[in-house]
Symmetry: C2
Subunit: 344 residues, 2 copies
DNA sequence: TTCGATGCGCAAACCGGTTTGAACAGTGAG
DNA sequence: CTCACTGTTCAAACCGGTTTGCGCATCGAA
């Protein structure tokens, strides 16, 4: 039926030139006479030829693909809207550069390592490292495997950290500080925090920022519950906090999903939001904006982070190792979920 | 520093055999003496050799990668948790088979076509088609491009449809029918529907199912609002439905996000849920289970669909063209968001 | 007319695997 | 002792591109 895909040889023959010339006509790495170039393009067009990317990859040892391994529990992947937004942001940049994105979702550490090893076998040119953990071994792993990498973090890297992996970071601490300021400004003194899993650097950073901000206002940051970013944990943590006489008048959650689940729980147990309980989220999801009341959150531009990470990785692949890049645009979005505390 | 990656030639030399023997030892396509095989494996191990996937791809014209193009507006990707769940499901199957997943997120049709064309240039072996639309041209496109494909739909393919693309489908209609049954059984007679964009076959199928179910109960399906799966549209559609004297006593939403936003809107405009308004979602997201009241929804096992789609595609790649596959497991999950209607 | 410079394209090597026809050693049968 | 046969390995071709040394033609200057 439809014959095999045409090769560069077919195009060369049709245009009456050699394979090399066809290649050069496309890459422009050496001048080709205008007239010849036209013949080549015409031939390619009529044969509907496109270079085979496998052949190209083999010849150039560049795959035009970058890899992303997501290592999270299914419940979180299924809930948190960060990933799809992040990926969409990456894609926009990658597509423009003609690059592809290879995705792997893994659930245990062995599978994670295996994924990077497969990547290193010439499937991708570089990788983006998400969800950096305390003592994360991936930077070493990827270096060992010879992969170019970019790492996402939630705070500026320490000066003395021997960072050889390019870093793209946001400054979550400032945003958390702002949230606390807002609450304190509204009159709250009893503020709790539901964090993410503290083994993640970003979750720990937000928790630390909460502690600092509270301390700064002379308040005791003594109600901190560790959640795990799932709706279930948000609900449970909230239950633990509000089902008692000395419940807080406000809760700062480490992500929107936990905040929404918490808000919903509080409401159904008789509390009015925001009158009896103010809540804030983090990572502003589309849903949060359209709830009633809207959820006060921190818009961190997941898509922008994806775009910047992709751009930085492309630069690194081009040999342009750059200093840590700050992704700006972290902004507190105030909505109806915050109000002055009622007396109770 | 770290020398270039070892090649099969290095392994051959180290083991004192030829390249071909190394290849055979690994593929097993021809017998290799046990003793030789051991030497080869030992050499490969000590050199830390792994076959270059580009070279393999070129030689075998198989990339061990499948492609997935997601063509949706950013707001939807950012909200709907279907995609990450679906992808996680695919991955589980693909990883097991040593295959990779290439992902592309596009926003317009040209980019979509371009993505498939890049795929066809030897980047992937096959593709999964999501979100089939009325008169979708992708089946033709991928056939023309010589890509193996699997298509996901929400109803059994019509007998007379000349389906040459393998289909994996769910039976959404039955589930929608059950939802309506539940509501009618609880005493509701004024039930509205907020659909998805009707150009999508699955959204239209759910709408049709709603119409059929209502008609079956002798009710007039005259309050249907077309949404677009976003939280914003869920809120707006709900506003249009409930901010009037003859508001419905129940609303069937085509996905959870719209339902959650709608529920939230209804509550904040003074309606009690479920006492004054019962609501149901679709595609059961983790969040829905942990809201209070929990959202009655239809669990369609996005991850299972992903897994089945991946498995079917792998089979198709293996030349095993099979009849349409039904993904079972669509089940109505009843939670607190349904109650008998109150008088008003 | 001769000579170097310049522009252009060809042919061949190469990337790192897979595949296959043929060679070779060892074995048992005739 | 020869021959057919089996089991094992080798060498070379091939996949479809990219890269580069070299030759050829053309042209202006000496």
């Amino acid at each position: 039926m439809h014959g095999a895909r045409p090769t560069i040889g077919d195009v060369a023959r049709a245009a009456g030139v050699s394979k090399g010339t066809v290649s050069l006509a496309y890459s422009g790495k050496r001048p080709v006479a205008e007239e010849t170039r036209r013949r080549v393009f015409a031939a390619a067009e009529s044969l509907r030829w496109t270079a085979s990317s496998s052949a190209q990859a083999l010849a150039t040892s560049r795959t035009s693909t970058i890899g992303l391994v997501i290592a999270r529990r299914p419940e979180i992947i299924a809930t948190d809207t960060f990933f799809p937004r992040f990926i969409a942001g990456c894609e926009a940049v990658l597509a423009e550069a003609g690059m592809g994105l290879m995705l792997n979702v893994v659930t245990d550490e062995d599978a994670e390592t295996a994924a990077y090893e497969r990547y290193a076998a010439g499937r991708v040119d570089g990788v983006i490292l998400l969800d950096v953990k305390q003592g994360d071994r991936r930077p070493d792993l990827v270096r060992e495997l010879g992969l170019t990498a970019v790492m996402l973090t939630a705070e500026a890297p320490h000066e003395d950290d021997p960072v050889d992996t390019p870093v793209v970071y946001t400054e979550d601490a400032a945003a958390v500080g702002e949230l606390v300021d807002l609450l304190v400004g509204a009159g709250h003194t009893s503020i709790a925090h539901v964090s993410g899993p503290l083994r993640y650097v970003h979750a720990a950073a937000r928790r630390d920022a909460f502690v600092d901000a509270m301390t700064h206002h002379g308040l005791r940051p003594d109600r901190i519950v560790e959640g795990d970013f799932t709706a279930a944990s948000g609900r449970d943590a909230t239950a633990a906090l509000v089902d008692r006489a000395d419940r807080p008048s406000a809760i700062v959650y480490a992500n929107d999903v936990m905040a929404i689940a918490g808000l919903s729980y509080a409401r159904s147990s008789g509390l009015r939001v925001p009158e009896d309980l103010s809540v804030t989220g983090f990572d502003d999801s589309e849903l949060s904006a359209h709830l009633s009341p809207g959820l006060t959150s921190v818009s961190t531009g997941a898509d922008v982070r994806g775009a910047v990470a992709a751009r930085t990785l492309l630069a690194a692949l081009g040999g342009d190792a750059r200093r840590p890049v700050l992704v700006d645009g972290t902004v507190v979005v105030r909505r109806g979920s915050i109000a002055p505390p009622s007396r109770h």
